[in-house]
Point group: C2
Chain length 243, copies 2
């Protein structure tokens, strides 16, 4: 039987936003790896995946993999590949790797899978999609992301403020991740595009201390790394959902 | 107790891609409304939501709502609002409306919710996010949507070929929905941007007859309305997932 690594998207924070398929994989896998952020992240963010996984997988099958932001990043990915290989070496046939959001959307799983394949010949790699922060924030804030012929741009602020400003000029809906320390300039760009009124901000989605508010009420100094900003299309009044 | 309308995203087709929360809502709601496409759609697409819902809700609580593409569209939305109001009038307190994909992403729910609110005073409107076709196709085809600082553009081809070409020029990853009858011109634009090699196409995701293939192998005459095309970023080789 071929060894199988499954990247399972576990959503942004609320354990109920895991898919039925994802929950089954977490329950049935021989081992479940969970990423833990080292360095100096917000503690609520550091162990996000592990908290969700605890709802579906008994602790004895769960193993932590340490990741880093910034310079230590690439070395951490390689080390994660070694942990995956070691987990197979200990006898696991199916290993689930839990990843916040969706494994195809800004996920460490992309890097882990590549590092694992280098070490484990004939490794079968699969994924189970997960709810992204953009979708969760839209739902919790009553925001329509796109309707009809509207276009949507998604980008991390690490792509640069210029890319964000271009998206604001050319797209109906713009979603920005990882505003963090650049949030002041980000909000200023939204205001300059005359689109601040309807923009909505979210952090710690589905966690205790969840922070969802109109962008106009954001304190830029408080925005953590894992923040989400939705600048909705202007033409459509949206669903007017309550949450 | 306030009347509550919950738009539940049920994913593209595979019933296991409903979230645990969505499954709970479908199970517990007093009534579950499912959209059925009238007119001349592909039969596999017409009853997609109903097939998924059948896995979670007993048939006696399920009620069909007929939608149309094209000219009859707005009238159908208004009629759907009347069905929602009638379902509450018959005694339901919580009504779930099942919608393919995610209720905030190109969903009829946006229109149904607005029509329902006009008829039912004090209606509480909520949503549960769902997996989108873009995410499912990425997973099933082993495609990374975005990683690192990559940007992503999502648009329906109803936004025009020009918007699609601009997105190809300015964004790392471009996802196009509803290529359908314009698929020949769409693929030509991808080829002209020198991005056809890595593009992937999907239709009937999670259904019998699922059709996933490299874009270069697509027969443009066969693409249905609900098709998805992912043109991935070129720089990153991706996860090389198997599916």
């Amino acid at each position: 039987m071929r060894r199988r690594l499954v990247g399972v998207g576990v959503g942004p924070g609320d354990p109920e936003l895991v898919t039925v398929k994802g929950a089954r994989l977490l329950r049935d896998a021989d081992a479940v790896l969970v990423p833990v952020l080292a360095g100096d992240p917000e503690p609520r963010d550091a162990g996000r995946a592990e908290t969700i996984v605890a709802e579906y997988a008994d602790a004895v099958r769960v193993r932590r993999v340490v990741f880093e932001l910034g310079e230590g990043r690439a070395a951490a990915w390689a080390a994660a590949g070694a942990v995956v290989a070691d987990t197979f070496a200990r006898g696991a046939r199916t290993v689930a790797f839990a990843t916040i959001g969706d494994p195809a959307v800004y996920s460490t799983f992309t890097h882990v899978a590549r590092a694992a394949r280098e070490r484990v010949p004939e490794l079968l790699i699969e994924t189970v999609p997960g709810i992204t922060a953009m979708q969760d924030l839209a739902s919790r804030s009553g925001t329509t992301l796109c309707v009809g012929s509207e276009t949507l741009a998604l980008l991390p602020l690490t792509a640069g403020l210029g890319a964000f400003e271009e998206a604001l000029a050319g797209f109906d809906t713009v979603v920005a991740y990882k505003g963090g320390r650049n949030m002041r300039a980000v909000l200023e760009a939204v205001r300059a595009a005359d689109r601040l009124d309807r923009a909505v901000y979210g952090a710690y989605l589905g966690l205790s201390g969840e922070d969802i508010r109109p962008a106009v009420q954001v304190d830029p100094g408080e925005a953590p790394y894992l923040s989400t900003l939705i600048v909705p299309a202007g033409a459509d009044p949206g669903t007017e959902r309550d949450r």
